[in-house]
Symmetry: C2
Subunit: 109 residues, 2 copies
């Protein structure tokens, strides 16, 4: 039997994307720096999980968190270079989904 394994770096990369919501959060941040509530409403994730995912992505060095001490305080999340460098990947997924996903397969329907 073939016991060759998948490249561990690829495996790690895929494990980031294959955690629910993380891919969409990264994709949403491609639009530019955004605050918590904006991501929450456009991605459709709950605060509890968004909080968790943003912490993970910060630890992975994909997302940066910045506090602006205005009143009320503004906190912005943005992509680091590592995160921005996922853009070609996101473009590929965009074009794949455009070609292969039908309207009626969509979650809305």
């Amino acid at each position: 039997m073939d016991t060759s394994k998948i490249c561990p770096k690829f495996e790690k990369a895929m494990s980031i994307l294959s955690k629910r919501w993380t891919g969409l959060v990264i994709y949403q941040l491609m639009e530019g720096p955004q605050r918590f509530c904006t991501i929450e409403s456009s991605v459709g994730i709950s605060g509890r999980l968004l909080s968790d995912r943003l912490k993970h992505l910060e630890n992975e060095g994909i997302v940066k968190r910045e506090v602006f001490p205005e009143t009320p305080v503004r906190i912005e999340y943005s992509l680091t270079e590592k995160g921005k460098d996922m853009e070609p990947l996101m473009k590929e997924l965009e074009s794949w989904s455009g070609e292969w996903i039908k309207e009626e397969e969509t979650v809305e329907n």
Copy 2:
């Protein structure tokens, strides 16, 4: 507040990839048609989940299941056109992981 939503087709595509193991199973099948136990050992997934994921991927039209009535029976899983068309995406993830994931971030370590 910005309430614009993410493209539903993209969302659906990401939901396929963001289910644990599916991305790795697809990636593994890029190597060519393979049987259950080969995928199981190279991806490192349990039979219970592999069985589930292959069924899902078949329903999505990404994977094809073929039975060869030899003795013992041989069952091969392979990618459909829809599945094969994810190759550019996988290549992008490969190159991103090659550039940004360090050895020590890997699951093995």
